[in-house]
Symmetry: C2
Subunit: 483 residues, 2 copies
């Protein structure tokens, strides 16, 4: 399917309805939003369209649909997989629809433990707004200063608190969205139970904008906590780390909110490249875990006591519990600087993969060995959300060579190989980042055909003209179109 350019009439109608703040074709206005977050690709769009209300958003989709014009939705433009960049089959002809003007928090109910936030609300702003009401929105990630509610919903975002509260899918109580036919789906009521047939919002969550344009969401809130405790633990094996996690969960209840794995090599990279970091333990253990637990004022003591027990039981090698907020932040810095430290060290092919939690220790070892055998000299490293069975499995260029040349020549092959390994192991080549445009080819090559056929059928049923975010998520048809 070839996508048409928007007609002059369409552009005039949008300009008239949305006004100068909501419509522009000025290249200078568009430029900042045409390159993806990882700076891997720059696309082009016919116009930047910014609705201020759900009704305006419905108007945009209806007008575009009438001409078969493509729409690329964009929130904070922080996709890791090029999901919000107008590149691909409709490049230069799509409307780039920015949701950033819809940034109202419509309501916060402490009785319903729910917030209604528009699609353009930035995650960090949401945290502050609900915090003022002594509530928490329990999802956070590195891009929180940019990522918006609409994008978080559309990518089913994860982060560092999935262990306890799940990803966005677990936190969305209701949605408002424009469907591809321009109709407005109104489902914001925070019903804890609703069994009126198919749960349509589940298709929009993680749908990457290919089935509709999310305009607002009702999100679950939880109580603010009294205190948090952060600990750093040295271990002999990743399997011991998993055993420790289950032990802490059994004994501390659901207080464990983060359980992040850092291998010795990862910690060494951080200490080498990131200023103002120092080793938290006196010995360099082969594996490290950062744990965060929340609860009453005694949570630090309880965590300390459990970790002492784990050391006595031979499960952990050593451990320290942060004695102050500053120490806690220093421990988190070690974990959160890992990507940056790795980048400073050289280029790597990066993968966001998951297998069943119990399988991850063995998978990391086997996959690392397989990668080195197939691509001699490369240096795999795995770190991250072990408690979710999700690690960032990155394959660094061979030491001492031209890493840029290696990346250009080898990265795609390495990624296809790693994605094949994880698929064979019953896992996923996208745990939390989505498919977007960058993973589409590997997804198409490795996807289960039954799933793929069902996804195509649903897409064709709800968006028969294929106007919503063409080129993202779904494999291209043979004619190169987004369908």
């Amino acid at each position: 399917m070839a996508y048409p350019m928007p007609s002059p009439d369409l552009l005039r109608a949008l300009a008239a309805r949305l006004g100068p703040r909501g419509f522009t074709t000025d290249p200078a206005d568009l430029a900042p939003w045409l390159t993806d977050w990882r700076r891997r690709v720059t696309g082009a769009a016919a116009a930047l369209v910014s609705p201020a209300t759900a009704e305006d958003a419905a108007f945009v989709v209806a007008c575009a649909g009438a001409e078969g014009v493509a729409i690329v939705p964009q929130g904070g433009n922080s996709s890791m997989v090029g999901g919000a960049t107008p590149a691909g089959p409709a490049e230069g002809r799509a409307l780039l629809v920015s949701m950033r003007r819809m940034r109202a928090i419509r309501s916060i109910s402490t009785e319903d433990n729910a917030v209604v936030a528009e699609a353009g609300v930035v995650l960090a702003d949401l945290h502050i707004a609900v915090g003022e009401r002594r509530r928490r929105f329990p999802l956070s990630l590195a891009a929180k200063g940019n990522a918006t509610v609409g994008g978080l919903v559309s990518t089913n975002a994860g982060g560092t608190q999935v262990l306890r509260f799940g990803p966005m899918r677990s936190l969305v109580l209701g949605l408002e969205a424009v469907l591809p036919d321009g109709s407005l789906f109104q489902g914001l009521a925070p019903l804890r139970k609703d069994n009126r047939g198919y749960d349509l919002k589940q298709l929009l969550i993680g749908g990457e904008g290919t089935l509709g344009l999310v305009t607002a969401a009702t999100l679950r809130l939880v109580s603010a906590f009294e205190a948090r405790a952060v600990a750093w633990i040295g271990l002999r094996s990743a399997r011991d780390a998993l055993t420790l996690l289950r032990r802490l969960e059994d004994r501390l209840g659901e207080a464990v909110e983060s359980f992040e794995l850092v291998p010795a090599e990862g910690l060494a990279l951080v200490l080498r490249h990131i200023p103002d970091t120092r080793p938290p333990l006196s010995h360099a253990w082969e594996w490290n875990v950062l744990v965060e637990a929340v609860g009453g004022a005694d949570i630090g003591e309880r965590l300390q006591s459990e970790l002492m027990g784990a050391i006595e039981a031979g499960l952990a090698g050593d451990a320290m519990v942060a004695a102050s907020e500053a120490q806690a932040e220093a421990l988190w810095k070690l974990r959160e600087s890992l990507s940056e430290a790795e980048a400073r060290d050289g280029m790597a092919a990066k993968h966001d993969i998951a297998v069943p939690v119990a399988d991850m220790p063995a998978f990391m070892a086997q996959a690392s060995a397989a990668v080195v055998a197939r691509f001699p000299g490369t240096r795999p490293i795995a770190f991250g959300h072990l408690g979710d069975g999700n690690v960032h499995f990155n394959v660094r260029a061979p030491a001492g060579g031209d890493d840029k040349a290696w990346f250009a020549a080898q990265a795609a092959a390495v990624s296809r190989f790693v994605h094949g390994l994880v698929t064979e192991a019953g896992g996923t080549l996208s745990a939390e980042h989505g498919i977007g445009r960058f993973k589409r080819a590997d997804f198409a090559a490795l996807a289960d055909l039954v799933r793929l056929a069902s996804m195509r059928a649903i897409k064709a049923a709800l968006d028969p003209a294929g106007i919503m975010n063409p080129g993202a998520l779904l494999p291209l048809a043979e004619d190169g179109s987004g369908q």
Copy 2:
């Protein structure tokens, strides 16, 4: 669309593949499964077909699909809404597909906190099996001795523990299912994160068998608890009950697992009609709440202390914490006997409704007044899962009359009226029971047209011949067919 009778060739092929335990047309074998749980309707089927494996189930669906023959899936036959009864457009021509032979628990992983259970596993058996591994499956309901995993998934079942752990949708980590085209969807891997596009299992959860036949599920387990505490609390208003819930959640963390509302009139009915029951408090409070909290050995003391504080604060009138397991069971009996006590008192039009939690106290009062004004003499009563914003809102026949005659003449009109009230309030006419066959007309009349159009489009895309559970959930087309 008219559904054909299965051909003799089809029946022979099924008999040959499934053997005598898996295939019968004997009316005596079929009879027990043709009448619904509430004994409101008796249907008819061409054969009872019982696959023992997912591959056999796929064979059944593929064969049926080749002739356009309808399939009605059935688990424990405990639907409250006639969802598993072969009545309607394909009556007498459908294959009744029983999943009861698929009752293996394929695996339990305490490391993954997951169990893989086949569709025919009975809920009570599942509880026992995982309990032996010191884990809990945290969903329970009255029909647990009959209800099966496949039915629980397909109806997105609720129950008394939704408050903390959510309904089935929150507990399903993976699914295996036969799709309407006979293909086998294999998604049992317990991935905590997986963002490979549309989450297809979400359509099967709560799909009431209209989009596929669930053959197995991977379900989330949680740690066993050390102790539970059950309390009965007397209050002046339902709004106070809600305030108390949020207070307990804030102070006890996520320990509160059940929060069930019982009005004075409901308790009086139980005390009048159910043997061996007695009032838990010395005074008859206008509203009562049963709370269950779980945790360490001190949970009883902690709950007691919080309830004392609530009484001192004027929030609760009186309270007692069960001092023994026998007392705890006696308190639960008061709650769980409510439906039976009500039935012994006379007939009632029953409704399973939800609104946002914070709106429920006002909604109960306003809806009761509206019902009495419109249907003079009727006696509404609301009880149940206040913490989920879900009550069973039942309208009892006027006192002293012929309640059977009243029911026959008035119940449908009363139900339509109540369903209209809850829809206007932004709520749902089915919180946990589903639509099935009994609520289909009201659903069709009151459903949001955008949702309905999307549901029809998805159904047509995945089941174009309309063979899966025709007559359930989706409104009938004008020709009376299941589409």
